[in-house]
């Protein structure tokens, strides 16, 4: 029974990774950029949730929506200010800019409010349900349901709306999409907005679940979410969800075996194994290189 307990914990953690990984994978799919600043958007989301709940006394759902909205704006601003000029630059220049933006946000936040961690206010009722002898806290249940709802909304946007169609078209071939009259710049900004909103939501969820946040909290979950995105096949939306869940479960299992200090290494070992044996990811197709 304890194993099912661990599995539930793993899925809760994995759904947070999956929410962050979705932003990575959508941005990578559309402009082929690893948005290193994504983990920092996640951190900002957690802080906005913290101030909204602790400072203004909002409840969980309004705080979540507020964090998502502000993060969406921040994501668009980052894209407009830093990445837009780099559309035609080398990949290395884009990657370094992304790292620079990420550091700028981290240390900007430290500069403004200091590096001390904060304890997240308790907003969710903490009850435990017993289902088939397994204790499941209401928190992890709520986290899971919020994540699933967000992912369903995302699927709806990408597959059923006009903007989603434009996003898929731009990620398939930006030039052809432009010729078909799609506003490519706006589509890219929209992608950043959605991805950042999901990261912001993940930040609030992370805060309520783990109850401790600090300005450098985005680095490790950001990297791991990237691992999840690569695991599922970068650029593929269902892949990011599955990758996130797998990674969460693997990490929890490694901790459960008593190797909790090796938890972070497990994620990177998975990354390297995937990159070496199937770089296109679990759901990806192999592409042939043309000269």
């Amino acid at each position: 029974m304890e194993w099912i307990q661990q599995l539930v914990n793993g899925i809760s953690l994995g759904s947070i990774y999956a929410l962050i990984a979705l932003g990575y994978t959508m941005v990578y799919g559309i402009i082929k950029l690893i948005n290193f600043a994504h983990g920092e958007v996640f951190m900002i989301g957690a802080f906005i949730g913290f101030y909204a709940i602790g400072g203004w006394g909002l409840s969980f759902v309004p705080a979540l929506l507020l964090a998502m909205a502000v993060c969406a704006i921040i994501g668009v601003v980052i894209e407009r200010v830093a990445y837009k000029r780099l559309r035609n630059a080398t990949r290395i220049a884009a990657l370094i800019t992304a790292i620079g933006v990420s550091l700028f946000i981290q240390y900007g936040v430290i500069y403004i409010r200091g590096a001390q961690p904060e304890a997240y206010p308790n907003v969710l009722p903490s009850k435990t349900f017993e289902i088939f002898g397994v204790n499941i806290s209401s928190q992890s249940l709520l986290i899971l349901s919020v994540s699933i709802i967000l992912m369903i909304i995302l699927q709806f946007i990408v597959h059923r709306t006009k903007m989603g169609k434009a996003m898929r078209a731009v990620s398939f071939d930006a030039e052809a999409a432009r010729l078909m009259g799609i506003n490519v710049d706006r589509t890219i900004s929209f992608t950043f907005a959605i991805g950042s909103a999901l990261a912001g939501a993940a930040g609030v969820i992370f805060g309520t679940y783990y109850t401790k946040i600090d300005p450098l909290m985005g680095v490790i979950p950001g990297l791991k979410a990237f691992v999840a995105a690569v695991l599922g096949g970068i650029g593929i939306i269902p892949g990011a969800m599955v990758g996130g869940l797998v990674l969460g479960v693997v990490e929890t299992v490694v901790s459960a075996f008593g190797y909790s200090l090796w938890r972070d290494a497990a994620a990177f070992i998975i990354l390297i194994l995937i990159l070496i044996f199937k770089p296109s990811g679990l759901f990806g197709k192999n592409t042939r290189e043309k000269v």
Binding site: Y111, A115, V219, F268
Partner: protein, 316 residues
């Protein structure tokens, strides 16, 4: 002839610089703070130049250089503190083990390109750090006590050897092969260059010198901890190379000197330092993506010594 003349000229120049600094340290007119800054500059130049070989010359985007620095630092510290080796032997052992680590990381990951390679090297560096974090023999998270052995002479000799080897490597047949890989890997392959061999060789050589720098680094402080070798350290090294210009050795040297001086003066304001760093990085990438020097060397501006990219640009 001209080439050899430039070479000896630069060796003599650098030895003069060395002698002057050593004299100033011995006579006490250079206070220990500045002497230590000079040693730190030398270590950073070694790191910058070793990463320059991987990124600037071979074009393989590695952002996990701190991992090899950590290997060199820990191995050489074990050699001096636990096995009681002399310092020089410890440095060499640290470098060799780091080169072996470079081979182990490079052979699987150099099949990847661009972003994926960057992430894989980042992952390997994190794994190396976590491994040291979990080994109790080297103190785990608390770190390891190391005695202070690095002085200006050691730092300078290592710096001189690093720059000589990397300049000569770059100007040799192997270096040209690496540059060909940087320019276009598929075309280089088609011209009969064994791309995997050269990529791995450059990577291992870069790791070797990072390991040497690690040995100097470990013995310049009194303690080493796994947190010293995280992603930020890799990033610090990367910024030297990128800011100086990808493909320019003297650019890497100049930016290592400048940034080390700047960060020494901003030591008391770490947040401000990181904000300035990251802003500089983003602005340089947006407005001058080729870096300060591009692929030019400082000697190119003098015309006369075009081929002698020797040792006249360090120790400033």
């Amino acid at each position: 002839m001209k080439k050899a003349k430039g070479f000896w000229l630069s060796i003599i120049l650098s030895l003069v610089v060395y002698g002057v600094v050593q004299f100033l340290i011995n006579s006490g007119s250079l206070n220990p703070f500045y002497a230590n800054t000079l040693i730190f500059i030398a270590i950073n130049i070694i790191l910058a130049v070793s990463l320059h070989l991987v990124i600037g010359i071979t074009g393989q985007f590695s952002i996990g250089h701190a991992g090899f620095l950590a290997v060199g630092a820990y191995i050489s510290a074990i050699c001096t503190m636990k096995l009681e080796f002399p310092f020089i032997a410890a440095l060499i052992v640290g470098g060799v083990v780091a080169a072996v680590a470079g081979l182990m990381v490079g052979i699987p990951s150099l099949r990847l390109k661009g972003d994926y390679l960057a992430i894989a090297t980042l992952g390997f560096a994190e794994i190396i750090r976590i491994v040291f974090l979990n080994i109790d023999y080297v103190g785990g998270a608390a770190g390891m006590q190391v005695s202070h052995l690095t002085d200006w002479t050691y730092a300078f000799i290592c710096l001189l050897i690093t720059i000589l080897v990397i300049v000569n490597f770059t100007n040799s047949r192997h270096g040209r092969a690496c540059i060909a890989i940087r320019e276009n890997e598929i075309a280089a392959d088609a011209m009969g260059i064994n791309t995997t061999y050269y990529k791995v060789a450059a990577f291992a050589l870069g790791s070797f010198f990072a390991g040497i720098a690690g040995g100097l680094y470990a013995h310049n402080f009194y303690i080493i901890q796994p947190t010293n070798f995280g992603f930020l350290k890799s990033f610090d090294i990367l910024i030297f190379v990128v800011l100086g210009g990808l493909g320019s050795l003297s650019g890497a040297v100049i930016s290592a000197i400048l940034l080390t001086i700047v960060s020494t003066f901003l030591q008391d304001y770490p947040e401000t330092r990181m904000i300035i760093y990251s802003l500089v990085l983003v602005i340089v990438m947006l407005y001058r993506p080729q870096g300060l020097m591009g692929t030019k060397e400082i000697t190119d501006y003098f015309g006369k010594w075009t081929n002698a990219k020797g040792g006249n640009s360090y120790g400033k």
